[in-house]
Symmetry: C2
Subunit: 421 residues, 2 copies
C-alpha cells in the first residue's frame, strides 16, 4: 500500500503528526510509508481482508517530506481515533512505530489536533487565570518549594518545613515525586498536619498559601487520596503524570469536574523518552496531551538555568504551546487552535535557587511557577531564611533592581547568593 501523497492538502478534520525519521536499511520514503501504515490501517504484508471503502475513508497521507532534515508529516482522517481517549491515539501515532526493525530512530515531534478532537476534551478546570484568582497573585510569578529531603521527614517535620516556607514568603509547597504514603510519613496524617500549618501561615501572613500533596498511585486510590485532601480543606493535588500514565490522568480529570482541585503535574520519567532528540516523543507532545486532558500546572523545564535538561528554545516553544490559544506553525511546531481549552501554568523546577530568578523570569516571563527545593532548604540559615531569600529575589526582579543591589539590604538573599554563586 502506498501512503505517500505529496499533493495531499490536509483537511480541517485531519490529525497531523510530525516525525523525525532515520530508516534502517530502507529508503526514507519507504520508512515513512511503513510508519503511516503501522500507525493506521496497514501492516507488513498485503491483506485479502482490505476493502475499497477502508482505503477511501481511512487512509492516511504522508504529505510532507524533508529528507535533508529527516522530517515528515502524516495527515490522518479523524475517524482513525476515538474521541476523548488519549491512550488510543498514543497506541496509534506513538505506538508500534517506535519498535519496527526498518526504523533506526523515530521521534514524534508534534501532533496537531483538529477542532472536533479538541472538543472531546475538557482541559484545565482553572488554568492560569483560575490559579491567579484562587491564589490572589495577579501579576508576579508564583513561588513554590518542594519539601526536602525528598524522603525521611515525618508528618510533623514535613508540616513544619512547609510552614517555614510559607511564612518566609512562598505561595506553594509541594511534596516530592517519590513521597506518597510512606511508612515514616503517612499520606493522611501528612495532609492533616500540613494543612493545619497552612491555616496558621495564612493567619500570620495575611496571604493565601497552598499545599500540593502527591496523590500518585493506582487510579481509584488517587481519587480516594484526593477526597482525603478535600476533607482537610486542600485546594491542590499533585500527580506524577508519566509514572501514572494517560489513562489514570484522565480519571483524575474526570473526577475533578466536580472536585475543582488545581491539578499540579510533575513529569518524573519523561526524559526516558524525551531526552534523546532523535528518538522517542517530544516534551512538547507530553505537554499538549496534559493540557488537553486538563492539568492546571505542569513542569516544563528550567530554560537551561537549573539541573534538568531542556534548551531555552525548547522551553519557550512548550511554554507558548500551553499558554496561548492559537499557535502558528513555526519550524517543527505545528499550527494548533486550542478552542475552549484553558492555558496551563508553566512550572520551572530543578536545581533552582534565588540567584536563578532573574534569568528565569527573563526567559519564561511572569506566567511561571518558580520552585526551589534545595535552593530553599539548603539555605545556610534554614528553610525560613531560604524562603525569604526567594521572595526577596523575586521582589528585586519585579522592581527592576539587581540581586546584588537588593542583597545589600536583605540578609537572607545575601547569604543565598554567597552559597550559590
Amino acid at each position: 500500500m502506498n501512503f505517500i501523497d505529496l499533493e495531499y492538502v490536509p483537511g480541517k478534520d485531519d490529525v497531523i503528526a510530525e516525525y523525525y525519521v532515520e530508516p534502517n536499511r530502507i529508503s526514507f520514503e519507504k520508512a515513512c510509508n511503513h510508519i503511516a501504515g503501522e500507525s493506521s490501517i496497514g501492516t507488513w504484508t498485503s491483506l485479502t481482508t482490505m476493502k475499497e471503502r477502508i482505503l477511501r475513508d481511512l487512509k492516511p497521507s504522508v504529505y510532507y517530506i524533508n529528507k535533508k532534515e529527516r522530517i515528515m508529516r502524516i495527515a490522518y482522517p479523524l475517524e482513525l481515533f476515538e474521541l476523548g481517549n488519549i491512550p488510543q491515539i498514543m497506541s496509534s501515532v506513538g505506538g508500534n512505530v517506535f519498535g519496527m526493525k526498518v526504523i533506526r530512530n523515530l521521534r514524534l515531534l508534534d501532533i496537531h489536533f483538529p477542532a472536533m478532537y479538541i472538543k472531546s476534551f475538557k482541559g484545565p478546570v482553572h488554568g492560569i487565570s483560575g490559579v491567579r484568582k484562587i491564589t490572589g497573585v495577579r501579576k508576579r510569578p508564583l513561588l513554590g518549594t518542594i519539601v526536602k529531603p525528598k524522603l525521611g521527614l515525618d508528618e510533623k517535620e514535613h508540616a513544619k518545613s512547609a510552614y517555614d516556607s510559607w511564612t518566609g514568603g512562598l505561595d506553594l509547597v509541594k511534596d516530592d515525586e517519590n513521597l506518597t504514603n510512606m511508612k515514616f510519613n503517612r499520606f493522611e496524617k501528612r495532609v492533616a498536619e500540613t494543612l493545619k500549618m497552612r491555616d496558621k501561615a495564612e493567619r500570620e501572613t495575611g496571604e493565601r498559601k497552598f499545599y500540593m500533596p502527591n496523590i500518585t498511585a493506582e487510579a481509584n486510590e488517587m481519587i480516594r487520596r484526593a477526597e482525603i485532601v478535600k476533607g482537610y480543606g486542600g485546594e491542590y493535588v499533585m500527580v506524577d503524570i508519566v509514572s501514572v500514565g494517560w489513562s489514570a490522568l484522565q480519571t483524575v480529570r474526570e473526577f475533578n469536574e466536580n472536585m475543582r482541585f488545581v491539578i499540579h503535574a510533575h513529569r518524573a520519567g519523561h526524559a526516558a523518552f524525551t531526552k534523546n532528540l532523535k528518538h522517542g516523543i517530544s516534551m512538547l507532545v507530553v505537554a499538549k496531551l496534559a493540557r488537553l486532558i486538563g492539568v492546571d500546572q505542569i513542569h516544563i523545564g528550567t530554560a537551561d538555568v537549573g539541573k534538568m535538561e531542556g534548551s531555552r528554545e525548547e522551553i519557550t516553544e512548550i511554554e507558548d504551546e500551553i499558554e496561548e490559544s492559537l499557535i502558528l506553525e513555526k519550524g517543527h511546531v505545528l499550527e494548533q487552535k486550542w478552542h475552549h481549552i484553558k492555558p496551563v501554568f508553566a512550572v520551572a523546577s530543578g536545581g533552582l535557587h534565588p540567584g536563578s530568578i532573574p534569568r528565569l523570569v527573563k526567559r519564561m516571563g511572569c506566567n511561571v511557577i518558580i520552585q526551589a527545593g534545595g535552593g530553599v532548604h539548603g539555605h545556610p540559615k534554614g528553610s525560613l531564611a531560604g524562603a525569604k531569600a526567594m521572595r526577596q529575589a523575586l521582589e528585586a526582579v519585579m522592581e527592576g533592581v539587581s540581586l546584588k543591589e537588593y542583597a545589600k539590604r536583605h540578609e537572607e538573599l545575601r547569604e543565598a547568593l554567597n552559597k550559590w554563586k
Copy 2:
C-alpha cells in the same frame, strides 16, 4: 552526600536497581552518586533540613561499579518505596534521573524486588497454568490472530474475520492496538457480534475459542468496557499497558480480583524508551512490572523472527523472567525470587506467518502464544485458509516434520509458504 559504598552488602530487604550510565562532563563515580541521590533522599545541594536519622535509615548505596561496561548497581532501603504502588517506585528509580544534565545517557536495566515488596502485589489471576486450563490446550503453543486491517472493518465484518480465524484452527482472536470504540466499529456491538461468532465456532469445531477485546481507555471506562465483555460472556480483556500507564493497569488488576478475566497485555509505545540500548528503560523491567501487577499474557517480541525489535538473547531473558519462579543472577539480569506471583504467558507477535513457527518454537519453546495478523489475513485464499496454514505449521512442528514436507499434503500451508518465503 556520598552514596558510594563498594563495601556494602545488600540486605534481603533491599530494592536493587541496575543502570547503564554515561556521565556528561563529570566522573563516572560522581554520576552514580547523583543518580543514587536524585532517586532517593538527595538533591543538588547540601540541606539544612537533613537529619542523622534519615541518613542512617534511608540512605541508598552504590555498591557495585563496573566502569568499563558503564554499569552500576544501587541498593535502596525498602522504606523508600510505598508497597503496592508501581507509579511511586517508577517516580524514584525511573524518574527524574533520566533528565539530569550531568547524565548523557542512562538506562534502567533491571530492578530486583525483595520478598516484602513482591508480597504487596497479587500478580496474575491465572498465569500460564490458568490459561492452559481455561483454553484446554495443554502442551502446544497457543495460536492467535489480530483482526486486520487494524481499523476499518465494521462490527459484523470483524466478527466474520474472527470466525474464519477460529474455524481455521486458531485459539485466540485479538483486536488491534488502535481499535477501541470507533465511529465505524462500536465497542459493545463488536463484542456482542464477535462473541456470538465465537459460540458458533466453538460448536462447529468442538474446541474452546477466545476473543480478546481491546478495552484501552480512561481507567474507569476500561472497567465499564470489561463489564460489557463479561455481560456477553467474554473471558479475556486486552489492555495496551504502556499507553494506559501503570496506574490504570493496577486499577484493571484490582477489578480483576473479582472478575477473573485473562488479561492480555499489548505494549505499543514501549520502544519509545526501550529501543535505544543506552538510554531509557529495558523491556525486561516493563515485563517484570507487568508480571508483578498481574497481566496473564504479554507481548515480549519475536526473537528476531518478525518485524519488531528485540534480539534472541533479550527475548530469552525476558521470557525466563516472566515464566520462572526463581531467576538467578546472570550478566545484567539480577536475581529475583517471584514467591506467590504466577508465571505469565509470553506473546510473540508482529510480522509473523506460518513459516515463522519452527524458528519461533525453537527459540521460545511451547509456552508461547504465537500471533499472526497479516500472516493470517494476508493468505492468498483469505483468513480461513490463513488460519489453517498456521495450525498446519504448528502441527508439523509438534510432529517434528519440516514445513516443506508437511506442505506437500496441506494446501493452505503450501500457499502460505509460497507467499512468504
